[in-house]
Symmetry: C2
Subunit: 348 residues, 2 copies
């Protein structure tokens, strides 16, 4: 069955029927607008537009993974302000020949990623479109905390990251090179939740089978980021002075903090561990794993700046420091790598 | 110059530079997320996805009008809950060859429509896309009022509307029939704000020149709805028990109230004035103006249900009543008209 068979209101009913609503949702889907609880008296809001062929491919990622990823990249923006996500809203454009199975998988992906942080899909809009288009908006509550912006970093502070870096970029490179087949799965299978820092890199590896497993884990990382959501509000509680989630590449994103804060950021390239998965992918493609780590987007790790006397718990990893000056510099290497520009780069 | 020449961050800077931020915006564009004031402790949220060729055409509407319309249809959803809009967020996908002039006009359209209600464009996202795509999310504050949903209508109450009905549909029909050329203007020209109920229908008409002017006003109504925003929170204060904005057609939209409230709605077809503009368009196209009024979408009038003892001020117009039963019925006519279904209808 396709969404064209169901019709607009059939599709809306089908989607809404799969979506439980959390306590923050005072009025859910089905009216002109939803009503959410905003106990803090302020609300944090972020929006992203995802276009088929540009941000995802249906032959490279399942509907489920596309839903997970689209939710994740917005929820991580909320967490990167130090807020707790409460709800997302999804504008969904799709061709009439999209199957209801694919739609269900997409819906479940949104639902399951939201459930990781106690948020709900509280509303949306659907339309016919030649390709799949997702307009996702996430909201969050600050719980009395000050929002952690990009402009508060001070010389003398340290730069730390929490979460994987370079994995999604390596996975995308493996897909682009045809080194790993798409092998798209449609359901909520894949590695278990609660992946520790480093992810599959910690696994035991034995022989060639192990290498394929490592590479496959990188492709999974491209399909489905695993932001360590709790680190966002956690960083705010620890006293972070600036923070963002790494979506376009660490160098480019940290440069936003450097510019907004009027400081220079110096990164220590030796501080970034290159685990077996990135090392294996780099060997397979003749690539530099540090380039993926420093310029790869889409992992949605958190990068934050803390006063130097803050004792940072796991999984935070200190990777650099803030000084007077401007820009982002990597010790011993000229910064000639670019980041992602939506009008100048292309996946195609 | 095109957006491709500017690049992603150039585009973001250019857009943000044209957007003043209101008092409700505690942190505006430029970070992972915005922070809005939500003094009520609840926030009202609505999202819409607009696709070029389906919801608008760049050869039929200027960038400015597309921005106005995209903002209006979301802001009116917020007002239809009885809330005051505070901000919108815009996900904008567009080809790299879009001109900066067009982008500026679109931005100004969003800005000016928001300004009508004291709201701001507080954030967004841009991406390259083969066609123009807009994902718009609006937020609002209830100011201590109960949200007016679709489910509160009771038998014995009256149905009233505020705002134009059928004008946008007639204007679209004129464009589709080639009866009025597109004659797209790119700037914030057009009829003055604060159009009274009935719009151009109140104008003096003299000869054929008058008729062209009337028809042109209908095309303007298609390009740019003029919701009477204050009527939304106003209806909540008057004690409205159910409300929505008419986006898909009065019959179809009132049916949502009938279904959600478990009631029957009876409309009096004689209660709807057919002014000179709709009459002229109906003559020009051999159409039934009442069909536009009852089934035409996109005017974003408010339709609400009130207890029968409420004295309704202008511009509210009583057009029917609520009884026991189900469905929407028009006295003396079989209800055989359809509404809009995004997967079954097509503008093309």
């Amino acid at each position: 069955m396709t969404v064209g068979d169901l019709g607009e209101f059939g599709v809306i009913g089908r989607i809404a029927g799969r979506l439980p609503q959390g306590a923050a949702v005072l009025l859910g889907p089905g009216d002109d607008a939803a009503v959410l609880s905003a106990p803090d008296g302020r609300v944090v809001v972020s929006t992203d537009l995802l276009i088929e062929g540009r941000h995802f491919r249906r032959n490279w990622s399942s509907g489920y993974d596309i839903g997970r990823k689209a939710a994740a990249q917005n929820l991580s923006d909320i967490a990167a302000m130090g807020a707790d996500p409460t709800a997302i809203f999804v504008g969904l454009g799709m061709p009439a020949d999209v199957t209801t199975d694919w739609l269900d998988a997409l819906t479940d992906g949104f639902r399951d990623e939201c459930a990781l942080v106690g948020a709900s899909v509280a509303g949306g809009d659907i339309s016919r479109s030649d390709t799949v288009v997702l307009g996702v908006t996430a909201l969050g509550d600050l719980g009395g905390r000050r929002p952690v912006t990009r402009s508060g970093a001070l010389p003398g502070e340290v730069v730390a990251v929490a979460g994987r870096l370079g994995h999604a970029a390596a996975g995308l490179a493996l897909l682009q090179a045809g080194r790993v087949g798409p092998d798209v799965v449609s359901g909520p299978s894949g590695p278990p939740e609660g992946v520790p820092r480093g992810g599959a890199e910690g696994r035991a590896v034995a022989g060639d089978g192990g290498i394929e497993e490592l590479l496959s884990a990188l492709v999974d990382a491209h399909r489905r980021p695993r932001p360590l959501y709790a680190c966002g509000p956690g960083a705010a509680r620890l006293g972070a002075t600036a923070m963002l989630d790494v979506s376009d590449g660490l160098l480019q994103d940290l440069d936003h903090i450097a510019e907004a804060s009027g400081v220079r950021i110096e990164l220590d390239p030796g501080a970034f561990p290159v685990g077996p998965a990135l090392a294996a992918a780099a060997r397979a493609l003749g690539a530099d794993p540090l380039e993926w780590i420093l310029t790869g987007g889409d992992d949605h790790a958190f990068a934050a700046v803390f006063p130097s006397d803050v004792r940072l718990p796991e999984p935070w990893l200190v990777t650099g420091r803030v000084t007077e000056g401007e820009g982002v510099h990597v010790a011993g290497r000229a910064d000639t790598w670019g980041g992602w520009d939506h009008f100048r780069n292309s996946h195609d």
